[in-house]
Subunit: 360 residues, 2 copies
């Protein structure tokens, strides 16, 4: 079950091109004919139009949806400020496989399948011994990252491997017919590397970017800021080099999410971001390949305080804003309901001519 | 097909009681046990909890959904500032019945049925002669309201009749099994009475409340403000008397929406508001029966500029904010997807105990 990529990151990136604006214009022309005042459904119109540009069609298709949860553990947990122990990471993976977590319920409500990739959690899970284990892929790059408050989280080679592994897993689902991808994340402690990535790439002050994650108190929050600050001082990640940032602070699952986004961009499959961790992955992807941003929807704006600054940097307006902060892909799954409704609207509403009504 | 209520509005209102807070507390206790950090799905948790309080259960049910479009015409169209002619009202009703409008597409995406009630459009439609005509109920109170810029839109008796007719139609659907109701609206010109209702009941300045509706230009917008201002000066609606406000400015469909809300409140069926017109109906319902507000979800915040002030007055936070301004019930239908996902989440997510994971 151990799966590693044989492709080079450079060859992946070179194969990615921008979406097709001529198809967006054709889609906008269809919207203008729908039997309603001009663009009366506001931002809902832009959703199918963007998918038309990505899929090169006037018949956008999001019927087959996958939430691909990338999992990894984090050495920074040694700093001791997280309220949840690291052992929760594998337990939550088992819950995903059993179908009992938040993401399973929200994915089922949009008929999305949920799959899990172990890119580097500490323990070894055996898919053959787990209920639902056939939905788990082992693609371990390490047993958790190193503590980035004391040195680099991983090597540059491991960072590239994480991105390529995420690419490969997402590509496999695309080859199986997935038309809409959402990255999920699992990794106790992963708001810390995400905040570090957000600060380095968006140049937002660390105090703005660091939030309470799963629920740290004031004292732990101060510890968290201090540890991340130390990590940035020791590692000096290069803001112009996404792979360096990923290697310096982690994590494996964030690299996997960046790879998933590159796979969507390479194969014309729109990607619906979840919250803070997924968007940190998008910042890495955008640093590696700026055009990858044009394949993204921002599923929601997280309650994690730095998320808005990340979305602003990517110039993405979130579809939902419900103060969610769970991760797992839950915001992506919920937004897929709105995306699919937008596509249905684009395809099913009659034109003024078909309805026999003169336009305004 | 002509259907008029035999019930008195007073007897309807007297039968309405507040939702059951003990069920909300039980639901909150279940939420606290779900395998995620405390209330990590933010405002999504409050949705099933509110439905539990309304339905008196820990198994909230929104499986059967109806969008009930109330239609009426408006005498204020004589003032001449609307870009769409009044003849569009019946044509759009025919489009709803044929299944070709925005609301049909968005309702189909949440498996909601769409039904139409003629509470007072100008022409006579014959359901027997129309494609899909079995989904149209004729409950005409008049052939359009009178021009409220020159006198009352209707009599107090007609206003009560509009509310009772809306109640009856919604109640009929509830008796057939509807568990979640969304009011739609159709009536060219109906942002004008809605703005008048909003100004009178929320005491917001008219200039803040009046927007561009289906798309008036600057000069027509000034005409619109002036006509509504004149109507308020001539009619002097009593802000403490919702029935007086409705009678003075109209319209029949807004009264019908108020009645639909009262039916939801009377029978423990949550109601998902759409935009500006539906929320004007909610202001009338709340004036008649303040507790009716506790049965409402705000489906979305409309791009029509006065809507936010109406929602603030009702202390409702919108589920979606996508700059939509179509009406027809489209915002309600789209929000039903989020509501249903919230219910699925509440019912399907395991507890920490079930997942075998210690809580935070």
């Amino acid at each position: 079950m151990q799966k590693h990529s044989t492709r080079s990151l450079d060859s992946i990136i070179q194969a990615i091109h921008p979406p097709h604006n001529e198809w967006r214009r054709k889609a906008e022309a269809r919207t203008a004919q729908l039997v309603m005042p001009p663009r009366a459904l506001g931002r809902l119109h832009a959703i199918p139009e963007k998918i038309c540009a990505i899929q090169q069609t006037l018949n956008p298709d999001v019927s087959s949806k996958t939430i691909l949860i990338m999992a990894g553990d984090h050495g920074i947990m040694q700093e001791g400020y997280s309220p949840f122990p690291q052992a929760v990471t594998p337990e939550m993976i088992k819950t995903f496989l059993r179908g009992g977590a938040g993401i399973n319920a929200l994915a089922s409500s949009v008929q999305a399948e949920v799959r899990v990739v172990d890119l580097g959690i500490v323990p070894d899970l055996d898919p053959n011994e787990l209920e639902g284990g056939d939905h788990l892929t082992i693609a371990k790059i390490g047993r958790g990252t190193a503590n980035f408050a004391r040195g680099p989280a991983m090597s540059r080679e491991q960072a590239a491997q994480a991105v390529c592994s995420g690419f490969d897993r997402a590509e496999a689902h695309i080859h199986q017919g997935t038309k809409l991808l959402g990255p999920g994340d699992m990794g106790i402690g992963n708001t810390s590397p995400s905040a570090a990535i957000g600060t380095v790439i968006t140049q937002t002050p660390l105090e703005t970017m660091v939030g309470r994650g799963t629920g740290v108190d004031d004292s732990a929050l101060a510890q968290k800021v201090k540890a991340i600050q130390k990590g940035l001082e020791i590692n000096r990640p290069d803001p112009r080099d996404g792979l360096d940032v990923l290697a310096k602070v982690g994590g494996f699952e964030i690299g996997g999410i960046a790879g998933l986004i590159l796979a969507g961009a390479a194969h014309g499959v729109p990607v619906v971001l979840d919250g803070f961790i997924a968007t940190a992955g998008a910042l890495i992807a955008q640093s590696l390949c700026p055009v990858s941003r044009d394949y993204l929807f921002a599923g929601h704006c997280s309650a994690e305080q730095g998320h808005r600054a990340m979305l602003d940097f990517l110039r993405l307006e979130p579809i939902l804003d419900l103060e969610m902060r769970l991760g797992e892909g839950t915001g992506a799954a919920l937004a897929m309901a709105v995306i699919e409704a937008g596509v249905t609207m684009f395809e099913q509403v009659q034109t003024f001519a078909e309805a026999g009504i003169p336009g305004a």
